[in-house]
């Protein structure tokens, strides 16, 4: 609700980012489909490292690395949207694996000052924030990906919705 100008421009940025991401995705899938060689090449060490780097979590959290792509999301709006688009089984799977490591995640992130997390730890923290978003749906709403008997969620505009963290 702070200056709608910034909200609008943020929206524009998000939209731009989205289309860029979509374009990149299309490009990637096109490559994959077009050339098995390219696919193989992507699997070679030199190509693989950046991808691997983008998914890596701090040592000890390898077991939940499989959630990074889907759930390491920087804003509440994106975490909320992802939760709403997920199936009950996906939410349950994420919750089941995240819950046991939650205390060690919180311990880990507190070895850094507030808001000063290195990249891999930041990713881990985003996963924990997604658990905060998902937990009520498993613990309270019987796996319903939406808040049951509630107002249309997208009509609530959160001033902090696009804030990172």
């Amino acid at each position: 609700m702070k200056s709608t100008t910034s909200k609008r421009s943020k929206k524009a940025v998000t939209a731009a980012g989205k289309s860029a991401r979509t374009a990149a995705k299309r490009l990637r899938s096109a490559k994959t489909v077009a050339s098995p060689a390219a696919k193989r090449q992507a699997g070679t060490r030199s190509k693989r490292i950046p991808v691997r780097k983008g998914r890596a979590l701090p040592a000890g959290f390898e077991a939940i690395e499989r959630f990074v792509k889907r759930w390491a999301l920087p804003t509440q709006n994106r975490r909320q949207a992802r939760r709403r688009k997920s199936t009950t089984a996906e939410l349950q799977d994420f919750y089941d694996d995240m819950l046991p490591v939650l205390p060690s995640i919180l311990k880990h992130v507190d070895t850094f000052p507030l808001g000063e997390l290195p990249q891999a730890s930041q990713r881990l923290f985003f996963l924990a924030l997604s658990l905060a978003e998902v937990a009520p749906h498993i613990e309270l709403y019987r796996g319903d990906p939406n808040v049951p008997y509630a107002f249309e969620e997208s009509r609530f505009v959160a001033e902090h919705g696009e804030k990172i963290g």
Partner: protein
């Protein structure tokens, strides 16, 4: 001061305490009538002190917030001047009526380093105290034009506990202090400014402003409406209901019967951010709140007449505000304030608490448009209120009395 303690099975205790409110049903007409709506706007909204900002939103000289008030077809610039004083003006240029600050929505924020407000149309410049300080080509206006008489149109403004109020009446009947009366004493002294982390939501609702207001004015709905988000929470009844002229307050007491969920336990061990979490010892509540020290006290629920609900709890305060746009259209603003996180784990705990609170508000809001639709049918002429809905009854009486007094 009328407080009620030791209430056992006094089922009608509140109307017994306030017999002037009666026990009968209240009419549905004020929720659907265009005529009553127009009178509420003219006689109440345009004459009452209304909370439009927090001082933290205009922190420095030159900081401003422009808030559109649809019901009055105006927007108000709330601006801090170099003398530190926060003032308010209509956002209308004295030249040819353009908006001085270009608005980008219902709320527009900005800062001008020189603490002036320039109009983009022809470059007229106003000081943050409203004076017209500069007019390009001033000598080409005529002798009848006086710069000193053409400042921004002021709006009565005052501040209480960091809340900025305006009154659209050019000559308000009461000062803000007079208007607040005993309410100011009851809610003064709480450390509002210390809880700096604000989670703010807004939406448009297709309902009368009072339907939203009523929905948040009782705890009777907790067991049903919040069966999803707060299944372990049951209202143990209101306590300490008090009226201060048109304003009203009470304590909401909740029984937390079951153990919190696994994730709630982790969050609760890290930081206080949830209303349905057992409070730590009393640290910030003023002595006027929960005077008997009830252990099931959850939060104080009040209405600062006409449209602000202010709630305070240990470590949390929050507001709901309903801004009428039309008879059946309303802006809702919900703001939830907590102590800012000092650590990453506290930041996480706040995320959990706030997400759950958002979900509860989504549950609260769900009924509002449905109620409006149903009442529009005209099938019901009256609504039935039980004793725990005393705040709604009080509101209906205050509004009816105000409109009748203006006849």
């Amino acid at each position: 001061m009328a407080t009620a303690t030791g209430e056992l099975v006094r089922r009608h205790r509140w109307t017994q305490l306030y017999p002037e409110l009666g026990q009968g049903p209240i009419p549905t007409e004020p929720y659907v009538s265009e005529e009553i709506y127009q009178r509420e706007i003219e006689l109440i909204f345009k004459k009452s002190w209304l909370r439009v900002a927090r001082v933290e939103e205009v922190p420095e000289p030159g900081s401003y917030k422009v808030k559109r008030l649809h019901f009055a077809n105006t927007a108000i610039i709330i601006v801090r001047a170099k003398d530190g004083v926060v003032r308010a003006f209509h956002n209308v240029c004295s030249h040819r009526g353009n908006t001085v600050v270009t608005e980008t929505g219902d709320e527009t924020f900005g800062h001008n380093k020189s603490a002036v407000l320039p109009c983009r149309f022809h470059g007229w410049v106003y000081g943050a105290d409203g004076t017209l300080v500069s007019v390009p080509e001033e000598d080409r206006f005529y002798s009848c034009f006086e710069r000193g008489h053409n400042g921004l149109t002021p709006v009565a403004t005052d501040v209480w506990e960091g809340f900025v109020f305006i009154n659209l009446d050019p000559r308000p009947l009461h000062t803000l202090a007079e208007f607040l009366g005993g309410y100011a004493g009851h809610f003064g002294g709480y450390p509002y400014a210390a809880l700096t982390e604000c989670y703010s939501y807004t939406t448009y609702l297709d309902c009368n402003w009072k339907i939203g207001h009523d929905s948040f004015s009782e705890a009777y709905h907790v067991t049903t409406i919040h069966a999803g988000s707060f299944p372990n929470v049951f209202s143990t009844g209101l306590a300490d209901v008090q009226f201060f002229g048109p304003h009203r307050t009470c304590a909401v007491c909740l029984n937390l019967t079951q153990a919190p969920t696994k994730v709630a336990v982790v969050a609760g061990s890290v930081h206080r951010g949830s209303l349905v979490q057992k409070a730590a010892e009393r640290r910030m509540l003023p002595p006027s709140i929960n005077p008997s020290g009830r252990h099931d006290f959850a939060f104080e629920l009040s209405t600062l007449f006409p449209n602000l609900l202010l709630h305070v709890a240990e470590g949390i305060w929050f507001t709901h505000q309903f801004w009428p746009i039309a008879r059946n259209r309303t802006i809702w603003e919900g703001k939830y304030y907590v102590r800012a996180a000092q650590t990453n784990s506290q930041r996480w705990a706040l995320e959990y608490a706030q997400v759950l609170q958002r979900n509860a508000w989504l549950e609260d809001t769900q009924t509002m448009e449905n109620t409006q639709k149903a009442l529009e049918s005209g099938a019901k002429r009256y609504l039935n209120l039980q004793d725990e809905e005393i705040l709604i009854r009080h509101n209906a009486h205050v509004l009816a009395d105000r409109l009748a007094a203006a006849e």
